[in-house]
């Protein structure tokens, strides 16, 4: 038992932290971060290239692929500090998801072609999984990919595709065999999203932010080497991603920064009687509750990374971390908004933080929905973790009754 990072890891944290503080434009205390999916995308790419130069972008990659083979705990520190400092530049789709998948399942040519641009921070990927009729039941996806001898032909629609409007490439799951059980007829493909037969349509969310897209494939011809790994093994190839760091430490780390910011705000803000809001016992209690939830999410995130570092598969813990982290993000946004009083409905510069927490409150509504809803996570905990029978696999004998 040891609830402490080792010295080497702490030194890395210090090095990273001073680098970030140096990179942040202006004063850290006023730094609010940027919208990486919007106008600031180019800045985010700039930082990404710097991270690549430092070797941090692909620190998790094995040394054979130009990475550092960094430990899970070091990756946790990296994500923790980047999130805490609201630092852009990380590459979830390329460096974290596709890269490792290619290393395991890609051909030599595919690796040579696609890995270096990811490692250098030069390319934006996006992920085409969800479809209009396939959300939580992802394996029911329908986007059809047919083998036309010398090429593949793709037809169908992906939706909720984050960053598709900024990406140059998409990795996606397509239906290659409609006549077998649903998990067994799916394959994993890559496509250049600038293809003239691929249409990317914006979906504006209720926060007014363009993050999601609909991606429509209409008779898209793909070369034969667009297939990654074996045909009809796409479901399992997608699951490979799960072997890489997924502690969810981002949530408590960014919540901690918001917590500090909100505490500063309520210390300085006085009510109409001239009393600082921090001395309102209800506000005080709300903040302590929030502190506990941040720590709870952090403890479980560390446990996920620890289990991964021991070569164990954190099934329950991964789901618990996702549930706690995303609920935490929603709570932070609500508290940041509530404490603004009537200004909690104002989204311009009249409001504290220019209405940031209000916008965040709208945005983070998605958190408990994406990447496996809270309900799906609880199903996973109950069935895989606790051994309860799966409802959809249950044979109910109703006839006995009549």
């Amino acid at each position: 038992m040891k609830y402490k990072f080792n010295n080497e890891d702490e030194l890395f944290r210090q090095e990273l932290r001073s680098w970030i503080r140096n990179e942040i434009p202006g004063d850290f205390n006023n730094w609010q971060g940027i919208d990486e999916a919007g106008d600031d995308f180019e800045y985010s790419l700039e930082v990404r290239k710097k991270l690549a130069k430092k070797g941090w972008l692909t620190m998790a990659w094995p040394k054979d692929y130009g990475g550092q083979g960094a430990s899970y705990m070091k990756q946790v520190i990296f994500n923790e500090e980047m999130s805490y400092h609201r630092m852009p530049g990380r590459d979830g789709f390329g460096a974290k998801m596709l890269g490792p998948t290619l290393m395991v399942h890609g051909s030599e040519e595919q690796k040579k072609r696609f890995l270096p641009p990811i490692a250098n921070g030069e390319v934006q990927w996006c992920q085409g999984y969800s479809e209009p009729d396939s959300g939580s039941d992802l394996a029911s996806l329908k986007l059809k990919v047919e083998d036309k001898g010398d090429h593949w032909l793709a037809n169908g629609t992906k939706v909720w595709t984050s960053m598709a409007h900024k990406a140059s490439w998409i990795f996606f799951l397509g239906r290659t065999d409609p006549d077998v059980p649903k998990h067994k007829g799916i394959s994993f493909f890559l496509a250049n999203i600038k293809d003239s037969n691929i249409e990317v349509k914006p979906i504006i969310n209720m926060a007014g932010i363009h993050h999601f897209n609909q991606v429509i494939f209409e008779n898209v011809k793909l070369p034969k080497d667009a297939l990654i790994g074996e045909l009809n093994k796409g479901w399992y190839i997608a699951a490979t991603l799960l072997d890489f760091e997924r502690s969810g430490v981002e949530y408590p780390a960014s919540a901690r920064r918001s917590f500090e910011e909100i505490v500063d705000f309520v210390k300085n803000k006085k009510n109409s009687s001239g009393i600082s809001l921090i001395n309102d016992p209800y506000i005080n209690k709300t903040l302590v509750d929030l502190d506990l939830e941040i720590e709870a999410a952090k403890l479980v995130a560390y446990e996920v990374a620890y289990l991964q570092s021991k070569g164990k598969i954190p099934s329950i813990e991964g789901s618990v971390a996702k549930i706690l982290g995303t609920q935490l993000a929603q709570k932070v946004a609500k508290i940041g908004t509530d404490f603004s009083g009537l200004y909690g409905q104002i989204s311009d510069s009249y409001a504290p933080f220019d209405g940031k927490y209000l916008k965040q409150q709208l945005f983070v509504t998605a958190y408990t929905i994406f990447a496996g809803t809270t309900e799906i996570q609880k199903n996973i905990i109950a069935t895989r973790g606790l051994g309860l029978p799966r409802e959809d696999k249950l044979k109910v004998n109703n006839k006995q009754e009549s």
Binding site: V263, V288, D291, Y306, V320, I381
Partner: protein
């Protein structure tokens, strides 16, 4: 970062689990509720032989020389079988009190006898208010005289007073405007013990001390300087209780899982309904987070100077979480869990002591607020 157990801790976990499951059955736990001491002589002797009573006592005083984080693993297992009894008062609180405040002679007199199972201790701190603030000690005072001291006072919520060979009594100190603690043999003239009926079978008493004559050698530590020591003792107490509760949480969850896998309604196990599964998932979340909070605080207590924030976070979180968990378990059990014959209710009753002892959730939340400077 190493969130796993050490080899020694694993061994302690396995051997204690085997022993406790076999010897501290639910029938035994039920019998101990009405037993005056709360443990059998045989099991107490076994605990001495296995090195548990002196687990945290250094070798030189006849103990096993383990740390508090090791003890927390044993306490998890005790919590799992629902064992209360004088172990906590003697081998967690008593031992830490002696280690933190006793001089060589005092340790030599008491610790080897604790380790060998021949001596029990009870801390008498609380008074009528029932809080863990310094201001709690108002009606107990110690007055210095030529031969030593005279102690008078009324103590409430004294755990395991019957059967204790020594009380450690906290009193206000006239001279130094602080608190002092004394080692008082229970057979001293002027001590009267009355029972306070506890809901979970915990042995809780009101103890009156009248004109107790004490020698200088019975003062633990320095006059008027006991508060800092008491705070440390309470930290061990608080995390000892979170260890028990996180162990008990696992047990309550297991009882519940067994039940919902077995119980059929509408021709299917109720555990196949998602409405039920999501409650079960919530139990798993509460248990996991409780264990992490508790173990982290236990580790900090054993290895770092300042562990206050972790102690307060753990006790405030786990006290609430374990209460909620018991409530969910009852919800999933339906009527059966509510009956006296069913074991679940034993844990629910014992929970009440565990979550209140050494500070309830609100108490620790206020401490967090102070430490985070939320003012």
């Amino acid at each position: 970062m190493d969130l796993g157990l050490s080899e020694i801790q694993k061994m302690l976990q396995e051997t204690s689990r085997d022993y406790l499951v076999e010897n501290c059955t639910m029938d035994f736990i039920r019998a101990m509720e009405s037993d005056q001491i709360g443990i059998s002589d045989e099991i107490w002797k076994n605990m001495a032989d296995m090195g548990w009573l002196g687990l945290m006592i250094p070798d030189e005083y006849g103990g096993s020389g383990f740390n508090f984080d090791d003890m927390s693993i044993l306490l998890e297992e005790m919590g799992k079988v629902g064992l209360s009894g004088p172990f906590f008062s003697t081998s967690v609180i008593g031992v830490q009190a002696l280690l933190l405040s006793g001089d060589k002679a005092q340790k030599k007199e008491v610790l080897p006898k604790i380790a060998s199972g021949n001596l029990k201790i009870s801390l008498a701190f609380n008074e009528k208010t029932g809080s863990f603030e310094k201001s709690e000690v108002t009606n107990t005072n110690s007055i210095k005289n030529n031969d030593g001291w005279t102690l008078n006072g009324e103590k409430y919520f004294v755990n395991d007073a019957i059967g204790a060979d020594y009380f450690i009594v906290a009193s206000s100190s006239e001279n130094k405007n602080g608190l002092s603690i004394f080692l008082v043999p229970s057979n001293t003239e002027g001590i009267e013990i009355k029972k306070m009926e506890s809901i979970g079978g915990d042995k809780i008493y009101k103890v009156d001390f009248q004109e107790i004559k004490l020698l200088d050698s019975q003062l633990l530590g320095k006059e008027g300087e006991a508060w800092d020591i008491l705070l440390k003792i309470f930290n061990y107490g608080a995390i000892g209780k979170t260890s028990e509760m996180s162990g008990a949480a696992q047990k309550v969850m297991n009882i519940t899982l067994d039940y919902i896998k077995d119980r059929k309604q509408f021709d299917r196990p109720i555990g196949s309904f998602q409405a039920v599964q999501h409650h079960a998932a919530d139990m798993a979340i509460l248990t996991k987070v409780s264990t992490q909070f508790s173990r982290k605080a236990a580790w900090k207590l054993s290895n770092e100077e300042d562990s206050n924030i972790d102690v307060h976070r753990a006790k405030s979180y786990v006290s609430n979480a374990y209460h909620d968990l018991c409530q969910i378990s009852h919800q999933l059990h339906g009527a059966i869990g509510y009956t006296w014959d069913y074991d679940l209710q034993i844990f629910t009753r014992k929970m009440q002591h565990q979550k209140l002892a050494y500070g309830d959730s609100n108490f620790h939340q206020k401490k967090i607020s102070n430490l985070l400077n939320l003012k």
